[in-house]
């Protein structure tokens, strides 16, 4: 083995730089505070490696991004790697903070280390932008909202703002090109820029050696193994924490981006300070917070070595400590303030809760069925549970309520039509056939039928009957209700006998077919068709065109509009066919359930 390594060294000379690394000395000898740099560097390596692995399965397209990330999450190793990628990014930012503090307190920027200092300072915005370009790649609602807001902030910069925004977003609106541009920035341009600056940074560290104001003596203790073991200990600890978080918590995946849904976007925690700062500079003053102040801070830090040279060592030490204390507390204050105020903001909390609910639903649907070619956005758009209430509120709730027995649900603006909660189910029909309830708000009370033929017919079922006969009529009507709920497909196998009995009563004793058509008995025209009552096709027909002879033709229709004329007449349709189907499926409780 030794001979092989000797040959390798004679060809590549690898042992020389390795020796330089091993025998490097440090001011004051190996210390725990010197681990920040190594930890930071190795975290970047981990981030790049996990990034490469994720690239093997990720697809940067608006239709495929969310779906491919969900696909990665299905695999345990994929879930873990994505989690590491997510948490290591944040660890890099935190470690960077520690590193800056350490460098400031030890005045490590003193000549001849100026280039190390400057490259390091420029790495701050680069690393932050690197992180910001990564978050929207999952195609989530929060991710794309963030990049839209960040694009608008950048766009607010005087002169070059709009141009940079167009490059970032890939046009004037967020779309396919946004993801491809962000992907290019994230996996190509920014790694190259960061890598180049890092090469200069680390090259200079080796060339100039390290400096520390409080221990100017270089100790003769070599780097390896006394500093290396400290570095590795810190790195292992940090990686254990990241791995634990990655495995147990994992990276978040909220709902696929959909402009139809409102949201209350917030930046990631490391940008919250800028977000808070921006709140105090409204309108045309905004670039002051987002561009000017950060630029001024950066410039101040760049010239700090000059200031340091102009003061005495003790003044400089006080100045540097002051910068650290003021910087940290300001940053902490600006970060915590929006977190606290968001907690009290009920509207924001409601939006957050809705996002969480929708995201859970989207992930549940994606787990159940694979994603159609249109992309993950179709999952919630085709989900009756998600779209039903929204569409009902928009189109039906001016007249109809959808309220359960506990009063929960949607209340009509001006109730003038039956409560549609459980329409077509046995209990709903039983209420309908109850003389005490048919003329109430829940059914015909507010309609033109409040004193019509059906109401009086139901009353007559119970007319001049003693309490025993009334009880029997009630039970019979329950069978009729069972039979009608069977038309909708809601009757269970256990109710089969009752359904049969009810059907006989419907055509026989109660003579419903005198007015209603029911399969091969009765005629259309004077009352709604009871064939397939409450079924999907019946409801599609009823809501689509209530004036059809099957339902309430001509003057018999109270006030219900025609919602869907035909596919060939899109201008005349109030609802699209898809929207009509979603409302009907929702009313019937036909959605994917756990």
């Amino acid at each position: 083995m030794g001979k092989v390594l000797d040959w390798l060294d004679s060809r590549t000379g690898y042992r020389t730089p390795l020796r330089k690394f091993r025998e490097r000395t440090l001011p004051g000898g190996p210390k725990w505070q010197y681990t920040t740099a190594s930890c930071l560097l190795w975290l970047v390596v981990v981030e790049v490696l996990t990034g490469f692995l994720l690239m093997a399965s990720y697809s940067p397209s608006m239709t495929a991004a969310w779906a491919s990330v969900h696909f990665i999450e299905q695999d345990t190793a994929g879930h873990f790697l994505r989690g590491v990628h997510y948490f290591a990014a944040q660890a890099i930012i935190i470690a960077f903070g520690f590193h800056i503090v350490r460098v400031l307190l030890s005045a490590a920027f003193r000549p001849p280390h100026e280039l190390i200092w400057i490259t390091g300072l420029f790495l701050i915005p680069l690393v932050l932008v690197w992180a910001a370009t990564g978050n929207p790649l999952s195609g989530t609602q929060t991710g794309l909202a963030q990049i839209e807001v960040e694009g608008n902030i950048v766009g607010g910069t005087p002169w070059i703002g709009p141009l940079i925004r167009r490059i970032l977003i890939g046009g004037s609106e967020v779309g396919h090109l946004t993801l491809t541009h962000l992907y290019f920035l994230h996996v190509a341009l920014l790694p190259v820029l960061v890598g180049s600056l890092l090469m200069i940074h680390i090259g200079q560290v080796y060339r100039q050696g390290l400096y520390a104001a409080n221990s100017p003596q270089q100790e003769a203790v070599p780097y390896w193994p006394r500093q290396s073991v400290r570095n590795m200990a810190v790195l292992t600890l940090v990686l254990l924490v990241i791995s634990g978080l990655a495995y147990r918590v994992g990276a978040p995946l909220d709902m696929p981006a959909d402009p139809d849904f409102d949201h209350s976007p917030r930046p990631e925690w490391y940008f919250l300070s800028l977000f808070e700062l921006r709140r105090h500079f409204v309108g045309p003053w905004e670039p002051v917070a987002t561009m000017l102040i950060p630029a001024v801070v950066l410039m101040f830090l760049i010239i700090l070595p000059l200031l340091d040279r102009a003061c005495s060592p003790r003044v400089s030490a006080a100045l540097r400590m002051g910068i650290v204390l003021i910087g940290c507390s300001t940053w902490a204050g600006l970060t915590i303030a929006p977190i606290l105020s968001d907690r009290k903001d009920t509207e924001h909390q409601a939006a957050v809760a809705q996002l969480r609910q929708l995201s859970q639903r989207a992930r549940f649907l994606a787990d159940r069925e694979l994603i159609p070619p249109e992309g993950a956005i179709a999952l919630l758009r085709n989900d009756p549970l998600t779209q039903g209430p929204r569409l009902f509120r928009l189109h039906c709730a001016s007249c109809h309520s959808h309220q359960d027995a506990q009063g929960q649900g949607i209340i009509a603006q001006t109730p003038s039509a039956p409560n549609l909660y459980g329409v077509g189910t046995r209990s709903w029909i039983e209420g309908f056939l109850d003389p005490q309830r048919i003329a109430t708000d829940a059914y015909f009370g507010n309609t033109a039928f409040a004193e019509g033929d059906m109401v009086s017919a139901v009353g007559e079922f119970f007319a001049d009957a003693d309490s025993a006969k009334q009880e029997e009529v009630r039970r019979q009507l329950q069978s009729v209700a069972a039979a009608l709920s069977g038309e909708a497909g809601f009757a269970t196998a256990a109710e089969a006998e009752e359904v049969q009995a009810g059907r006989k009563l419907l055509t026989g004793e109660f003579s419903c077919t005198d007015c209603h058509r029911f399969h091969d008995q009765g005629e259309l025209g004077s009352a709604p068709d009871l064939t397939g009552y409450g079924s999907r096709s019946w409801l599609l027909g009823m809501i689509g065109n209530p004036t059809h002879p099957r339902f309430y033709p001509e003057e018999r229709n109270d006030r219900m509009p025609v919602f869907f004329v035909s596919d060939g007449k899109p201008d005349e349709n109030i609802l699209t066919r898809r929207e009509l189907e979603l409302i009907v499926d929702w009313l019937r409780g036909d959605w994917q359930k756990p």
Binding site: D75, L81, S243
Partner: protein, 179 residues
């Protein structure tokens, strides 16, 4: 020196631990993606049993959902199968025997046809020939070396009776019996 060696080993151990924390899942991930994600054996309903004449091969198209990693394409034409009903009407539906073969030639995947007489399958590309049992003709039977090294690929077939009492032929469709 003792202490130094210990620290050297410790450094190496910690470095190896850190590498393993990321490297092992990384390796699993890479190897995992090499596994086939195509569903093995998609259950497809082909035809009513009573529509199939006994002992006559019928070529049917298989329609189903095609899965591609995270996307599903619904109602796709997945391929074609030759179906032969082995038993006649005298046998009750649930005990009927039906066999199904992939209609692609095991040689180079051309579309296998029925020959003029209806007694054998032939492949127009290189003249491979198969018995109605699916077995490839031997060299003696054919007169030349059969390009197909094996018979037609069989697919698992079941009779499923639906709620209305109708017997349907189902097949577990797979693009190839060799992955």
């Amino acid at each position: 020196m003792e202490r130094r060696r210990m620290l050297e080993y410790l450094s190496g151990l910690l470095a190896a631990t850190s590498a393993a924390l990321i490297g092992v899942p990384g390796l699993r991930y890479v190897l995992g993606s090499v596994r086939s994600t195509q569903s093995r054996g998609l259950d497809c309903r082909l035809a009513r049993l009573r529509d199939l004449p006994p002992a006559k091969p019928v070529r049917l198209a298989v329609k189903g959902d095609r899965r591609d990693a995270w996307t599903v394409y619904a109602g796709q034409s997945l391929g074609r199968v030759w179906v032969i009903r082995r038993t006649d009407d005298k046998v009750p539906a649930a005990q009927s025997q039906v066999e199904a073969f992939l209609a692609t030639c095991p040689h180079l995947r051309c579309s296998v046809q029925l020959d003029g007489s209806g007694d054998a399958f032939i492949c127009p590309c290189h003249k491979a020939k198969f018995h109605l049992s699916g077995a490839a003709y031997t060299e003696q039977e054919l007169g030349f070396r059969n390009p197909a090294s094996r018979g037609l690929d069989p697919l698992p077939c079941q009779i499923v009776v639906d709620a209305a009492g109708e017997a349907w032929v189902h097949v577990q469709f797979q693009d190839s019996s060799r992955a």
